[in-house]
Amino acid sequence: MLWGILALIALAAFFGLLLGLAAIVFKVESSPVVEQIDALLPQTQCGQCSFAGCRPYAEAIAAGEAPINLCPPGGEKTVQALADLLDVDVLPLEEDEVLEGPVVAVIIEDTCIGCTLCIQACPVDAIVGAAKQMHTVIESECTGCELCVAPCPVDCIEMIPVKKTISNWRWPEPQYDVNNEQAANIFTTIEKVLAESTHP
C-alpha cells in the first residue's frame, strides 16, 4: 500500500517536472486568431454588430463574448467562414431585412448644406468635402454601411444599389435540375427574343 502511494507520487512528480520543463522550453506566444477573424469580416465598419467596427467585433468573437452571426453585410458567407475557422456550428444570420445586392451612398448635391456631419460619421473616410462646401461620396471607397445617413440634418444621403452593367454582370448559378423543374421558367422564350425591342 505504502509502496503504491509512494510510487504514484514519484511518477506524478516526475511527469510534473517533465511537463513543467517542457512548458518552459516549448513556450509559444498566443495565436493571432483575432487577425484571422478580422480578415474574414467585410470591413464595412458599420457597427451593426453593436461593436465599434470590425476589429472590436473580431476581438469579441475571439474572446467568446459575441456570437458569429451579428454581421449582416458579410451575410451567410461570413457566418459560414467564421464557423469553419472557429469550428463551431453555423448560426442563422441575425438581421431584420435582407439586403438586395450591394449599395453605395450618394449625396444629393442640391440639398447638401456642407455641414461635414457625414464626413465625421464615415468610418472609412469615403466622403470628401469641407465645411460649407458640398460633399461627395467616393463610390469606390464606400462600403455601404449607412452610417452617414442618420447624421445628415437635411436627409440628402441616399443608399442606391450599385448599377448592373455588362462588366459587373455574373453568370448565375444553374438552378434548373430534376429536383427543381420549376426553375425552367428562368429561361427566356424565343418570343421575347424575336419581339421588337424598345430601346432602353
Binding site: 448592373k164 453568370w171 448565375p172 444553374p174 430534376v178 429536383n179 423543374e181 428562368i186 429561361f187 427566356t188
Partner: protein, 351 residues
C-alpha cells in the same frame, strides 16, 4: 434579367437512363447462362429483387419528396436489383432478397441522397450485410450445376415453392440438390490442407475446363457482356483490365511455388463472381474512382484483395468485400491521382 441556357447547345442522345439500360441488357447472356446452370432460382431472385427494388425506390422517393417518375426511369434501381439477384444463391428464400434490397436501396443508396451520392456500391453493401447476418443461407443454398454428374434438379414451380414457402417435394432433400461452390471447396479443403488440388480434381465435382464447374460458363457469359459494354463505350477498360490482370498475376505468382495447393489463375478468373465483379460491379460509375490512374489502382486493389481474401481470408468469394474496401478508398484515390493539367508542371500538382 435575361437568363439563358448556357453553352454548349449541342447534346448527344446519351442519358443516365440509357447507360443503365445498356448495362442491364449486357447482363442478359449471363442471366440466361446462370439459369441454364443453376436453374430457375436465378430468375425468381431477379424478378423478386426488381419488384422489391422498384417498390423501395418509389417509397423512398415519395418520402424524400423527389420526382418519382424521373428517378424510377433512370433504371439505377433496376440495375442494382439485377446485380443483387445474380449475386444471391439461386435457392435463396424470398425474405433474403427483401432484406438485401432494403439495405441496398434504403440504407446504402437513399440515406446518402439517392442516385449519384452513395459512396458504397448498394448491391455489394447489401450482399456483405446478408453474408454476415445470414451466413448459412448465403452459402448452403447453391443448387448443383446442371453439368454435374448425377445432377438432380427441381422444376420451376418446385423452385418457386421452395423460395417462397420453404417447401420441397417430399422425394427431394435439400442436400441432394445443393452443392458447395468450387471456391468454397478450394478454401475449406486445399487451404486448410485437408486435400490437394489433384485430389479434388479426381472427385470431378469442382473443376470444369477453365474454372469452377458450372461457374466457368456463367463467367464466360459475363465476360461477353462486359466486352459488349467496352465496345459500346459505356465502361472504360481501366478497371476490368487492371482487376483481372492483378488477380491473374498474383495467383500466377503464388501459385507457381506450390502448384498442388494453389488453384490456377484461370480458376481464379473463371470462378465465383469474378467476371460479374470486374465488368459490372467494380465499374459502377458512382462508387468507382474517376481518374484514369485512380481507376487502374482501384481495379488493381480489388483484384489484389480478391486474391488475398480468397486465399487467406475467411470468405470463399470476396468480390463484395473487396469492392466495398476499395469504395472506401475512392475519394483518396481521386484526390491523389489527379492527371497533370495542361500547362502545369508535374510539381505543380496536388501532393
Amino acid at each position: 434579367m435575361f437568363v439563358a441556357q448556357s453553352s454548349p447547345f449541342l447534346k448527344p442522345a446519351l442519358s443516365v437512363s440509357k447507360m443503365m439500360l445498356v448495362v442491364t441488357l449486357a447482363l442478359i447472356p449471363g442471366i440466361i447462362t446462370s439459369t441454364w446452370v443453376f436453374g430457375f432460382g436465378v430468375l425468381v431472385n431477379i424478378v423478386l429483387a426488381i419488384i422489391f427494388a422498384l417498390g423501395f425506390e418509389a417509397l423512398m422517393l415519395y418520402l424524400r419528396k423527389r420526382p418519382i417518375k424521373v428517378y424510377l426511369n433512370d433504371k439505377s434501381a433496376l440495375l442494382t436489383a439485377v446485380l443483387l439477384g445474380l449475386a444471391l444463391p439461386p435457392l435463396a428464400p424470398w425474405w433474403l432478397t427483401l432484406v438485401g434490397i432494403f439495405f441496398a436501396i434504403v440504407i446504402a443508396k437513399h440515406l446518402y441522397g439517392g442516385l449519384g451520392y452513395n459512396p458504397f456500391n448498394p448491391a455489394m453493401a447489401a450482399y456483405a450485410i446478408l453474408l454476415i447476418s445470414f451466413p448459412a443461407e448465403m452459402t448452403t443454398l447453391w443448387p448443383s450445376p446442371s453439368m454435374l454428374a448425377g445432377h438432380e434438379s427441381v422444376n420451376f414451380l418446385q423452385t418457386l415453392n421452395f423460395q417462397l414457402f420453404n417447401q420441397l417435394p417430399p422425394s427431394v432433400t435439400l442436400d441432394a440438390i445443393s452443392y458447395a461452390t468450387p471456391l468454397d471447396v478450394v478454401r475449406t479443403s486445399v487451404i486448410n490442407g485437408l486435400a490437394s488440388i489433384s485430389e479434388i480434381e479426381e472427385t470431378g465435382k469442382t473443376f470444369g475446363m477453365l474454372g469452377g464447374l458450372g461457374t466457368e460458363w456463367v463467367n464466360l457469359a459475363f465476360l461477353a457482356g462486359g466486352l459488349f459494354l467496352l465496345k459500346k463505350g459505356v465502361i472504360q477498360w481501366h478497371i476490368p483490365l487492371s482487376l483481372l490482370a492483378t488477380l491473374g498475376f498474383f495467383s500466377l505468382l503464388f501459385g507457381s511455388f506450390e502448384l498442388d495447393s494453389n488453384p490456377s489463375p484461370l480458376f481464379q478468373l473463371f470462378s465465383g463472381a469474378t467476371m460479374l465483379g470486374a465488368f459490372f460491379i467494380a465499374t459502377d460509375p458512382v462508387t468507382a474512382a474517376t481518374t484514369p490512374k485512380g481507376r487502374i489502382i482501384y481495379g488493381a486493389g480489388i483484384g489484389l484483395l480478391i486474391y488475398i481474401i480468397r486465399t487467406w481470408g475467411g470468405y470463399p468469394d470476396a468480390i463484395a468485400f473487396s469492392v466495398l474496401i476499395m469504395n472506401m478508398c475512392v475519394p483518396m484515390l481521386d484526390y491523389y491521382t489527379q492527371p497533370r493539367v495542361y500547362g502545369h508542371n508535374d510539381r505543380d500538382q496536388q501532393p
